[in-house]
């Protein structure tokens, strides 16, 4: 490889520079708007409209305090955390077990189930949401956080199952057989062979499900009306689109509060996340 690169050195170095320059532009295009949001969250509205790109004159942490109080983060955050924990655990159980049996058992109609799961991913829930709403009101599950949990699980489960199945198919069945020779039951094979080998998949899937719940807006706005049950997304939206929208610094601070945990968790786990996505990805 080395010889060839030296041979066409001038043009290849030029095209490499161009390539890197383009990539830097794209990276800036991706994160500049986010950085601007953070920058503006420390300013007053007057400062933002005067010169959006300047550094804040005085760093206004008050924006964050006000946003925390007005956006009702203290009640919304526990609600969202509850939804995330229940959903992720639920998805792990449902998709983990389903993927295990789809990957290992070749059950009757297993291919049809896998196809169904793949197709259902492309069909968003909007078509059935009003009906779901009516069913849920008969069951007294509207305006109730427990009512949202099964919907979130059902939304995340198909893609998670497909992803996890891909992970499990990649593990040689010799591993199972070896464990079975030692007298392991199906559950023990799952627990001691499959789980330790596929945990990056579980992690990625859990992150995706958690992200979905954290950012989810439509179901929350449809099913939850009481302020004390609102999760972060609708609580924040109500606050931004409400009376104080004109206060830009505040709207920006509230948005940063919503974005920050996700970004921090991603940065901490990005290696595993990208690896998990790549391994399980659509192949």
């Amino acid at each position: 490889m080395g010889d060839m690169m030296v041979a066409g050195s001038v043009t290849s170095r030029l095209s490499r520079m161009l390539n890197h320059l383009l990539l830097i532009c794209l990276a800036v295009f991706s994160i500049l708007p986010i950085l601007l949001l953070v920058l503006n969250s420390f300013k007053s509205t007057g400062e933002i409209s005067a010169n959006p790109f300047a550094l804040p004159l005085t760093i206004r942490f008050e924006n964050y305090v006000d946003a925390w109080i007005d956006g009702r983060f203290a009640t919304a955050l526990p609600n969202t955390v509850f939804l995330i924990v229940m959903t992720v655990v639920g998805v792990w159980v449902v998709s983990g077990l389903a993927a295990y049996s789809l990957a290992r058992l070749q059950p009757v109609g297993g291919d049809i189930v896998t196809t169904y799961l793949l197709v259902v991913v492309t069909i968003p829930a909007q078509a059935t949401v009003f009906i779901l709403f009516m069913m849920w009101s008969q069951l007294n599950l509207v305006d109730n956080l427990w009512g949202l949990v099964p919907i979130h699980i059902a939304n995340s489960a198909p893609f998670s199952t497909v992803l996890l199945r891909t992970f499990m198919v990649a593990i040689p069945t010799d591993f199972d057989d070896a464990a079975r020779v030692d007298g392991a039951s199906s559950w023990q094979v799952f627990q001691n062979v499959i789980l330790p080998l596929t945990w990056p998949g579980f992690l990625t899937m859990g992150l995706l499900a958690a992200l979905g719940v954290w950012n989810e807006f439509f179901l929350a706005v449809t099913f939850i009306q009481s302020p004390e049950y609102k999760p972060i997304s609708t609580s924040l939206y109500g606050f931004i689109s409400g009376g104080r929208f004109q206060d830009w610094g505040l709207a920006n601070a509230a948005s940063v509060l919503m974005m920050l945990p996700v970004i921090l968790i991603f940065l901490a786990l990005q290696r595993h996340f990208i690896a998990g996505l790549s391994q399980g990805g659509l192949k």
């Binding site: 060839m4 290849s12 095209s15 390539n19 890197h20 990539l23 830097i24 794209l26 991706s30 994160i31 708007p33 601007l36 503006n40 409209s49 959006p52 790109f53 159980v93 449902v94 077990l97 389903a98 058992l105 059950p107 009757v108 793949l118 197709v119 991913v121 492309t122 069909i123 968003p124 909007q126 078509a127 059935t128 009003f130 009906i131 069913m135 699980i153 059902a154 489960a157 199952t161 039951s185 199906s186 799952f190 954290w214 950012n215 807006f217 439509f218 830009w248 920006n252 509230a254 948005s255 919503m258 974005m259 940065l267 990005q270 990208i274 996505l277 790549s278 391994q279 990805g281 192949k283």
Partner: protein, 309 residues
């Protein structure tokens, strides 16, 4: 034929008896799918009823296809349908190749840390919710936002009302969508590129192929299965989707070009309590999307040997 069926059936019974723990494991998700995937489908009957929540399923009058006729006759339906197709097709036309180009560019990078930094920066917007993305883009595009500051202060031009001009609004939506998803899809393509056999490149270099020729003849064919899978899945989104984004971005001044079928049905259901009508539109969208996905899958089969299902 009969013997084959009974043999198959006996095989199934034996299979179930031997592997009952596996079937038990699949049970929770089968129940979940039946309850939440198919349960609501029973309610699709509403599309054929003059439904009111007070009268319930049995008390509402059966009106046949009246809801569909009323929906298709509604002047806002035609606008919403057109907008849905235009916006989502434009998203596909811009977003799909962008992710491939980004992945190809990243694939050429040899410095590991640089590749990592680019990958992290470009995937970052994927984690930003639409509610937050709306604030992000208001910072940029509102009349006092960054872009207009640059236009007015630096170039002495006139401020552009990006968010309330019906001619520009759809492009803002397409641009924002690409901003959010490009890096995420690029990861999937990049993953596919790493599985390409390196000896193919070595052979091409021996034959004197340059980087462009290698990209065209080895890398692109190598990621074709991933490209086709994503293309088929994304065509399912031409008739629906992008709902939350529009909901938090649009306003009455851009209804002409920004109102999509989902926002149209949301207003029908929530403001006018026309549940039957709203469900009819939803059913129409789902059926069209399903047909589209199946047709596109058929079309790509010759190219991709087996399609995605």
């Amino acid at each position: 034929m009969y013997t084959r069926i009974t043999a198959h059936f006996n095989g199934t019974v034996k299979d179930v008896r031997q592997n009952w723990h596996f079937y038990l494991m699949a049970l929770p998700s089968v129940i979940a799918i039946i309850l939440f995937g198919y349960g609501p489908l029973r309610g699709l009957v509403i599309a054929f009823l003059d439904y009111s929540p007070l009268r319930g399923f049995s008390g509402s009058e059966w009106v046949g296809l009246d809801n569909f006729r009323a929906a298709f006759g509604n002047p806002f339906f035609a606008t919403a349908l057109r907008n849905t197709i235009i916006i989502n097709s434009a998203k596909l036309a811009v977003g799909f190749p962008s992710a491939i180009v980004l992945a190809l560019l990243m694939n050429e990078v040899r410095m590991h840390w640089f590749k990592r930094v680019i990958q992290i920066s470009t995937i970052m917007p994927y984690f930003v919710s639409w509610v937050v993305a709306a604030t992000v883009f208001r910072n940029l595009l509102s009349p006092e936002g960054l872009i207009n500051q640059i236009i007015v202060e630096l170039f002495g031009g006139r401020a552009i009302t990006f968010l309330s001009d019906p001619d520009i609004f759809p492009w803002v939506i397409v641009f924002q969508d690409t901003w959010k998803y490009c890096g995420f899809f690029a990861v999937l393509y990049l993953a596919a590129m790493t599985t390409i056999d390196p000896t193919l490149y070595e052979a091409a270099m021996v034959d004197g192929a340059n980087r462009w020729q290698q990209t065209w003849h080895i890398t692109l064919p190598g990621i074709r299965p991933t490209m086709i899978t994503l293309l088929v899945l994304l065509t399912g989104w031409i008739f629906q989707g992008g709902f939350e984004q529009i909901l938090v971005m649009y306003n009455t001044s851009v209804f002409v070009t920004g109102d999509i079928l989902e926002t149209f049905t949301l207003r029908l259901a929530l403001q006018q309590s026309k549940y039957g009508l709203a469900t009819a539109v939803g059913l129409f969208q789902t059926l069209i999307s399903l047909v589209l996905v199946i047709v596109v899958n058929r079309l790509v089969k010759p190219v991709n040997e087996r399609g995605i299902f």
